[in-house]
């Protein structure tokens, strides 16, 4: 149970990185990636995955 980032659509704005409650998001070669081991889809933190809620590009932070 984790989210992933569609690298081709990512603008690398970094909003997801500081909204993530699990510090699961980091940069890798100019784009952001989500660690599947750290991601909890924000369960027990927030009602909705924060990366998807803040991402400016539709369908870019999606279930892996």
């Amino acid at each position: 149970m984790a989210y992933k980032i569609v690298a081709s659509q990512c603008t690398a704005c970094g909003a997801c990185e500081f909204e993530c409650p699990n510090a699961a998001i980091s940069t890798k070669r100019g784009t952001y990636v989500i660690s599947p081991t750290l991601c909890t889809e924000c369960e027990s933190h927030f009602p909705a995955p924060q990366c998807a809620a803040v991402c400016p590009v539709a369908d870019t932070c999606i279930p892996a």
């Binding site: 659509q9 704005c13 970094g14 809620a53 803040v54």
Partner: protein, 491 residues
């Protein structure tokens, strides 16, 4: 007023605390002070804040340059005129940027620019996302730069949603200028502009989103005004959506203490991939923008010299030298050398003294005219307050309105550069003529016979008789010659 623009006052360190103390002791109602005003029109403490800021003082924009560093890419709202994926180095508009910088890279860039562009007076963070939402990077950048260049003015621009959370830090860091983009004071209108916002860990849409945004914008504006931080309000004029509503926005932001209101035309093109671009929402024409600005001219003073610059722009407002300072061109270690900026400021102090005197003379010349005709005059200028650019090299013209009541800067018109490498092409002159709608005469440093004739056919006079003169002096001389009554009276 001469002592206010002495060299000493230009170079003396002025603490924000001292300004705030003086402001609190009365004097200026900040909302009544304006962008096009000079030292005679506002309290010294406010003039001190704006006199070197090209975006807050129309007079300063002839002399001083700003730079934006794109350290804050994250944003917490979506606007229908913005597409975050878009990036083009040839495109000059807000939110667009070629290179995102870390705070450390930004510091090196600012120091390099300060060493090479002596006009630099202001460092702004305008995204490409939101400077208050991406606060840690904004803060780190300002702190690093201030440590190296203590006299640089700091400013930031924000959509306002995260602003109330950082007002105290903004005050503490001596950020004296904050721009809030406020496109509506009625959330119903906001629905057509903002599809969503991200606030308190969730995405809000529709009316709720606009309500929250509106409340946060008003709160942020009030908090800044209470602390005597100068607030500029930017509004994007979107025909059919908020154009008439901006009259109400103007009233509200003025009442809440905004220093300046800047109405910007919507930039909309399908190629930008924005919602408005794709749905065919058009931007206003230059004369529509002017009509709205004229309607508001009794409200909070309007900024009319905005160039809607990129989030990584460098240089005087009319030019962008960002391409000269990309990361690959910066030195590994940049050390600040204050000598060039200091020397430039001495020169500017002298020039400004002369400019003020020439402006007053020009006002007398046109006042002596019996003609009550209002005329729009376009100026080709490279800066410094003078008519000093070749007609064919101008990428924009500064437009002034002149009548016996005075000479007022009212805006600028962007044009495609039609003359590249020494010859003109008639095809693009049509674009220049269209951009000069309503203008009666163009004053420039040089104009060829061919474009001059084409302009004449379109009813626009072009003249280089006043080349290298002060803008206002050139306009007054032309106006006096065009209205012989004025000439007779001043002779």
């Amino acid at each position: 007023m001469a002592q206010i623009i002495s060299i000493e006052s230009l170079t003396a360190p002025v603490s924000a605390e001292a300004m705030r103390a003086a402001l609190e002791s009365g004097g200026c109602e900040s909302s009544s002070c304006g962008s096009s005003d000079g030292p005679a029109d506002m309290a010294p403490v406010v003039w001190a804040k704006v006199k070197d800021h090209p975006c807050y003082s129309e007079e300063a924009h002839h002399y001083f340059a700003r730079m934006h560093v794109a350290v804050a890419p994250a944003c917490n709202i979506q606007c229908n005129y913005c597409n975050r994926k878009y990036d083009c180095a040839n495109e000059s508009r807000p939110g667009v940027v070629s290179e995102k910088l870390t705070p450390d890279q930004a510091m090196r860039k600012v120091v390099t620019v300060a060493n090479e562009v002596p006009q630099l007076s202001v460092l702004g963070i305008a995204g490409p996302g939101d400077a208050c939402y991406d606060w840690k990077k904004t803060q780190a950048t300002f702190e690093a730069v201030s440590a190296q260049i203590p006299d640089i003015k700091l400013c930031l621009s924000t959509n306002g949603l995260a602003l109330p959370d950082h007002v105290d830090e903004i005050a503490r860091m001596n950020i004296d200028h904050v721009t809030i983009t406020i496109n509506m004071v009625d959330p119903e209108i906001g629905v057509g502009i903002y599809p969503w916002i991200f606030y308190q860990h969730r995405r809000w849409i529709g009316l709720e989103a606009s309500k929250i945004l509106h409340e946060r914008q008003m709160l942020g504006l009030e908090m800044l005004a209470e602390r005597n931080i100068l607030v500029k309000v930017n509004s994007v004029m979107i025909p059919g959506i908020n154009d008439q509503h901006l009259v109400e926005v103007n009233k509200v932001v003025k009442a809440k203490g905004a220093f300046l209101h800047n109405i910007m035309p919507l930039i909309s093109d399908p190629a930008h991939g924005t919602h408005f671009g794709l749905t065919g929402q058009r931007g206003p024409r230059a004369m529509e923008l002017k009509a709205l600005q004229d309607q508001l001219s009794d409200g909070t003073k309007l900024m009319r010299h905005c160039r809607q610059c990129r989030a990584d722009a460098v240089g005087l407002l009319g030019e962008d030298r960002g391409q000269e300072f990309t990361m690959d061109q910066l030195p590994e270690v940049a050390e600040y050398d204050p000598s060039r900026r200091a020397a430039y400021r001495e020169v500017v102090a002298e020039e400004r003294g002369e400019h003020v005197a020439k402006k007053a003379e020009a006002a007398e010349t046109v006042a002596a005219s019996e003609a009550d005709e209002k005329v729009l005059v376009a100026i080709a200028t490279k800066g410094g307050g003078r008519i000093n650019q070749h007609f064919g090299h101008a990428t924009e013209f500064q437009v002034y309105e002149v009548s016996f009541a005075g000479i007022a800067f009212i805006g600028h018109r962007k044009v495609e550069q039609y003359c590249e490498g020494g010859w003109g092409e008639d095809a693009t002159l049509d674009g220049v003529i269209a951009a000069l709608e309503g203008v009666q005469v163009v004053l420039c440093a040089k104009v060829g016979d061919c474009p001059k004739d084409s302009l004449a056919v379109a009813g626009i006079e072009a003249s280089h008789e006043h080349a290298y003169d002060w803008i206002e002096a050139g306009i007054a001389a032309w106006y006096a010659a065009a209205h012989p009554a004025a000439q007779r009276l001043t002779a």
